[in-house]
Amino acid sequence: MTSMATTQRERHTGQPTPGDASVARGLLERADLLQQLDRAVTKRVTVISAPPGSGKTSLLRAWADRSTELRRVAFVSVKRDQQNAQQFWSAVLDAIRNPARPTDPKAQPAATAGLDADQLADAALSELTDQVEPVVLIIDDLHELKSADALTQLERLLTMLPGFARLVLSSRRDPPIKLHQLRLVGQVAEIRAGDLRFTESETRELLAASGIGLSDAGAAALYQRTEGWAAGLRLAVISLSAHPDPERFVAEFSGTDRAIGEYLIAEMLERQPTEVQRMLLRTSLVDRLNGDLADLLTGRSGSEQMLLELEDANAFVVSLDAERTWFRYHQLLADFLRLELRRTSADELGDLHRRAARWFADHGDVVEAVRHTLAAGDWPDAARLVADHSFRWVLEGQAETIDAVLQAFPEGASADHPDLALAHAAAELNHGRLEDAATQLALAESHVQSAPPARRRRLSVAIASLRLALARRSGRFSEVIEQVNLLDASMSDESNDQIAMDSELRAVALLNLGIVETWSGRLADSERHLAEGAELARTIGRPYLEVACRAHQGFPSKTVSVATARERGRQAVALAERYGWEDRPIVAPALGAVGGMAIWMGEFDEGERWLRRAWEVADPTVDPAATVLLHVATGMLHAGRGQQQSAVEAFAAAARMESQLSGVHALAPRITGWLAAAQARLGIPDKARATLTGFSAEPEQIGLIYDGQMGAIYNARAVICLTEGDPAGALDALQGVLDATPPLVPTFTVVESHLLAGIAHLSLGGRSAAAAAAEAALAAAEPDRLMFPFAMTQAAELLNALPRHETAHRALLADIVDLLRGEPVPSVERERLSQPEELSPSELRVLRYLPTNLTRPEIAQELYVSINTVNTHIRNLYSKLGARDRSSAVQRARELRLLSTGRS
């Protein structure tokens, strides 16, 4: 399923060198043509455009083999009918990155899993940019690239190509890429069919080198008949070398009016032993094959040996890897073979496709399996394959694969196949098109009853799991819990072969359930379910899912302790980093949890740093509920620093986001309470009251789960009273919290209530009551080091009223007093201040923009890369420079003279 990518340093096997036997078999060192290509690559872009069989690939391979001394050559052959931009760029990136790695056509480069096509294209560009030696990227068979996105991305790469990099595009047709700008400045070279044609003297050279004795007249006739067409000459040489009477062959060839390609291929095939002919025909329907697959298709053994011999004879069979285990046929040959197979053995086609499908499915290449199942006409089977794997593709971040596979089915086919409707639903969900996803799901559901009983259960489980994801995305939390119960019931009796697949579904269900429980305030359940989901995902080898579970586990872990929540969040981030997913939206909740917990502990700068990372990766459309958390944590940061205006803005943003969810977010009362409190502190008590009034209509709706959370509302009422000079009113309001049984009200709310009560007592002149309240607040805050409420309530004056010898919490008090004085709190984090690691050229380029006032998106635009790429570079810069933010990074870079001119 990957495109073939090789670099020429390893591809010595089977390659022609002057004087070696392969020259005798139809490949010729064409010095003039190689020199023409040498001249061409002095230009930035070379376009080789000529019909099939013109010798484009042979020329490129020969040239690449020769050129590796001088430069690095990355060679990419576009896979037949490549519609998947993600796969295309993945192959390009692989070719640039791994010059020393033999290409395994089955290998999926792990480092690129989960990146979309845009990010991969950016990565390819930055790899090219980072090269120290001249580099030539060759893209062969570009006409097979059918993805408009990929072509657009290629066009962008072209405009951004660094000065020492060269691009060679080879295609049957002029590529649909704008080249006029480069053409105007003379930076495009072209090699066309006329240039590729053999000359008459090259024809003679080829014949001589192949040991074919032909008269001058015979050679001239052959040249005239083929008009120097490379494939024609190569085919003729294959037939001639074994021919008892070469002159007669040429005479017959010249005398016939047959189209030359077909004539010569037929001649070549006729000269092969019957079993070779049979193998060629029956294997022609796969795009690439190895001995095992070929044996399966022909129904007998020994295919690998035949393939090796055909390649050695240069008979239009090419091996794809250094070990020569994978092969493909020259497309011209493959197309004729397929026609011939269909013409002569039409009744066997379905069976052959089915065999190929089974083989590919068994070897994990589902995309090929689906293609052959469809070709065999077995739609329901193909649909089932897609449905069974669509989850995995989503989970592995390969959503484009579903899109590509679904394209192979005719439009509207999902109306008849519940499996297909399911796959469509997964694809739509992944694109964030929730309504379309719901439509497809309903379609699938309407077919469940008509499915065979064995299938019905599996379908129901898949539908429930997708419903769950959909309900979670739309914020319909109560529906999620219903769905999970359904899922649990249907999973109770498992058949063995279903377990693996169902484990995946179950892990997905646990993830969605855990997330929903988090945002509906059932933190203990949520923590447990997410831990279970992560463990299951790890067991069945689904790291993406494991990272997702762990990332969401951070926040609810605060039921254990704030420190635990912080640590789990950090572990989730570390796990994501190990797989290169630290830029993915799934990490946002973990980063937010680490930042939020740091803020609770009074480490505002540290919290800010993590929050900034969280905002960089968060995607509100993917996970709106997690985005609410980030707004809340941001509001806390501002409130803790006494920046009331910014706090109001952040809490208001959280409230807006929360109101877009159709369920009620667990943080809703807290958001409202803190928003009102910040408004009161900002001196707009009317707005504060309005905020609370807007909320008070809803408590019945919220139900029991949120009861304890209503404390946030009481606290806000108290704050309003205090700012309006009504401390007695404040104490009244706080009774609701302070009288409640402790476990019902979250600790931090209790801390806040004690502090507000203390402040009220203080302004009423009750110093001892105030001191008692302060001591109660410290006692409640101690276990988790909850310093944030002291900062938010501006409790400095109150703490002064507490005689030092009367507190049992002296150490915490001292830290809090420092915090309130604006002194940094000692952090768990250690700063890296040693000599920075070497910066990459791309990082240096981004670094140079940091002293300007350009924003990150603007920097991305300047550098023609995506915002994600810029973010990654900036994060690496901060980390390497030991900087916390842009200004400290600039300062450090100045100290290290990294910003001085002279380096480019």
């Binding site: 019909p51 099939p52 047709r173 189209a259 390609g261």
Partner: protein, 76 residues
Amino acid sequence: MDTPPGLYTIRIRGRLGATALSAFPSMECELERGETVLTGMLEDRSAVFGVLGQIEALGLELLELRRIPGTLDQCP
């Protein structure tokens, strides 16, 4: 922009054998002075480009492509 259905003739260099001809099942074939002339109804633009794609893939040399005028009237 839709190409209406119509009768097309396509001229290709050389005589095509049974294998190559099987790529054009909907077209009639005639041989004229060493050139193959394929004639047939092509439903729309995709059908036309489908045939051209086959000609390209098989390495055949396209000499002429022509729509025979007046054939449009036959279609409802």
